[in-house]
């Protein structure tokens, strides 16, 4: 047999614009452009290494494991968060720090806020039952639902892309925290009140389900479906937040009537006040809602779906 490999010839140069910003000196960020020789299979970090080692420019960046384990080299490339050590270098690229975190210098961002939030959601398993000894009687099936969550390297690419986390005063902990919290919350050995942590501290119901986090996740974790929705499932019944109340109202109406009316959900979830009245009036004036649609019964629904609801209530 003859060994095969991807062609290792590659020519030309890579043009890279790096955002430079030293908060101790600079008033505003600037972009500096460099050209480095293109080499076969180059990753983004190879280009940064070239700028630092060969051109000997003191750009600030992180290089730790360079093998998709430490999750500290995430940067934005042409606007999208990428893992510098994992993703291919582009012939023409603009490299910036990831969003929604303070910049230390150039591409280096602070992880302190993330770690503080992680500490707040009780990041270790809480055992109230005795540990039965090694190996404890657990099975692969019990951990199947979280197998992808354990791929998380906490690179914070998802937090960079999250439109809710981007709003500083939103109170939303962000997808990376929810992945960690969900892994614990779904662990059959864990006895902490993860429902309360998810609802009140991490504020999971503020997730808009936009899937931006999944789009940029370098380890391809189905964050919405396998981390966030299971957390909502756990927090829905007891949650006191407006999001949890709304989820409960939606669920009740959907279960009882089959179809759902948004205004009715809002009303049952306790939405009131002048803003809601103004909105209601606005919609009513254009024929978008009517008295009957809000206060009448929407429909009869389906027995099959109702039974599924009942079964789910028994088996959370």
């Amino acid at each position: 047999m003859s060994p095969s490999s991807k062609p290792t010839s590659s020519s030309g140069t890579i043009r890279v614009r790096i955002r430079r910003f030293d908060p101790t000196v600079d008033a505003v960020p600037r972009f500096e452009q460099f050209e480095v020789p293109a080499k076969p299979l180059m990753r983004i970090i190879d280009v940064l290494d070239c700028v630092h080692e060969d051109l000997q420019v003191d750009i600030g960046y992180r290089w730790l494991c360079t093998s998709k384990k430490c999750g500290t080299c995430a940067v934005k490339v042409n606007g999208t968060p990428k893992l510098a050590c994992w993703d291919e270098a582009l012939p023409d690229m603009t490299v910036e720090p990831i969003d929604n975190v303070p910049v230390v210098r150039d591409l280096v961002t602070s992880r302190a806020e993330y770690q503080d939030m992680l500490a707040r959601v009780s990041p270790l398993l809480v055992r109230k039952r005795d540990y039965p000894g090694f190996p404890e009687p657990i099975t692969e099936t019990q951990f199947a639902s979280t197998v992808h969550l354990r791929d998380c390297i906490q690179c914070l690419a998802c937090q960079s892309a999250c439109p809710v986390f981007a709003q500083k005063d939103s109170g939303f902990a962000g997808p990376a925290i929810l992945v960690q919290l969900s892994d614990l919350a779904q662990d059959p050995r864990d006895d902490a009140d993860r429902a309360d942590l998810a609802d009140r501290v991490a504020q999971v119901f503020k997730c808009v389900s936009c899937y931006e986090c999944e789009r940029v996740c370098p380890t391809e974790i189905p964050i919405v479906g396998e981390a966030i929705e299971p957390l909502k499932r756990i927090a829905r019944r007891s949650g006191a937040s407006s999001g949890a109340r709304r989820a409960r109202a939606f669920w009740e109406i959907a279960r009882d009537e089959g179809m759902v009316n948004g205004a009715k959900v809002a009303l049952r979830a306790g939405k009131s006040g002048l803003g809601a009245l103004a909105l209601g009036f606005r919609l009513w004036r254009r024929g978008k809602i009517s008295f009957a649609s809000v206060f009448g019964k929407g429909g009869s629904g389906s027995d099959a779906v109702r039974r599924a609801h009942q079964a789910s209530e028994k088996r959370p």
């Binding site: 999001g243 939606f250 089959g258 009316n261 389906s302 779906v305």
Partner: protein, 297 residues
């Protein structure tokens, strides 16, 4: 040739966005597309069923698909979120025999069975793919020349990639449709981002911040209107626009069109037929940018 589909309008098109249902029917009618509504279809669950249980999510959506299968037709939807729920459930139930059995056990009482024989499509795809650009082009009687349109895609027609595959690149398709109809596409930051609908009822500020920034960018890009394939995005952008204007402290006055309304305008349907008057944001100024429309309407 008549194209026949099973049709699931969803709660918005039957409730707060009836103009979507009306305009979809009008456009379908013009192209000889037969859309047969399902009887008592229920709800795909928005973002909630999947957060209740996989069983509820798959039963509710499997049931809707099974109803379409009984008609022997592909299923057409007009809402991004319904689309995602149905596409994901369809794929899951086709691939996973165990779930299929569980869902079919539940559905048997209603005489339904999920067999996995049909596709789920957005009405946009029916127009761009099934009907195709040539047929569309032939039917244009009022090219939208002069109209600057900001396409807004909505999340669930593009993401997650696992559900939509190559469809994840929906952005160019809607851009192409606008261009085909003669409109100028406004490129702006936010076109494929999130409108915030799924938290607007509980966390209005978060949602309006997001939608406000997209609408602001579209406006800054010179848009006369926004077009969207999703009634949920429409609701945030249109019904909440006065609130957005207040939150962002700027006037926008951006009419929000459903895809079917935009197509309808280009193929000569009247503002009445497209129920443009049911929008919160008036469409009058926008129509004035379509030269042929101002006289014909």
């Amino acid at each position: 040739m008549n194209r026949r589909y099973a049709y699931f309008p969803g709660c918005s098109a039957k409730g707060t966005c009836q103009e979507l249902d009306v305009s979809t029917a009008a456009v379908a009618n013009r192209f000889g597309i037969e859309l047969s509504p399902l009887e008592n279809p229920g709800c795909t669950g928005a973002r909630e069923f999947r957060a209740i249980s996989e069983l509820v999510h798959l039963t509710a959506n499997g049931r809707i698909i099974a109803k379409a299968e009984r008609m022997g037709r592909d299923l057409v939807v007009v809402c991004d979120t319904c689309l995602l729920n149905l596409v994901e459930a369809n794929a899951k139930l086709k691939a996973d025999a165990e779930w299929r059995r569980a869902v079919n056990d539940a559905l048997s009482a209603e005489g339904l069975e999920f067999k996995g024989t049909i596709a789920v499509k957005h009405f946009l795809w029916v127009l761009t793919d099934d009907l195709g650009p040539d047929v569309l082009r032939k039917n244009i009687v009022r090219p939208l020349r002069g109209l600057k349109v900001a396409p807004f895609y909505g999340c669930h027609i593009q993401r997650p990639v696992a559900a939509h595959g190559s469809r994840a690149e929906e952005k160019p398709a809607l851009d192409r449709l606008c261009e085909l109809l003669g409109a100028t596409v406004v490129q702006y930051e936010g076109a494929s981002r999130c409108c915030g609908f799924h938290v607007v009822a509980a966390e209005e500020k978060i949602a309006l911040n997001m939608s406000g920034s997209h609408l602001g960018n579209a406006k800054d890009g010179g848009a006369h209107c926004v077009v969207t394939p999703c009634p949920l995005c429409h609701t945030v952008f249109d019904a909440y626009q006065p609130d957005i204007e207040r939150a962002k402290n700027r006037s926008l006055g951006l009419p929000i069109l459903h895809v079917s309304q935009m197509v309808g305008l280009a193929i000569g349907l009247s503002a009445e037929a497209l129920a443009l008057s049911r929008h919160v944001v008036e469409c009058g100024d926008m129509l004035a940018h379509i030269p042929q429309a101002s006289g014909a309407a």
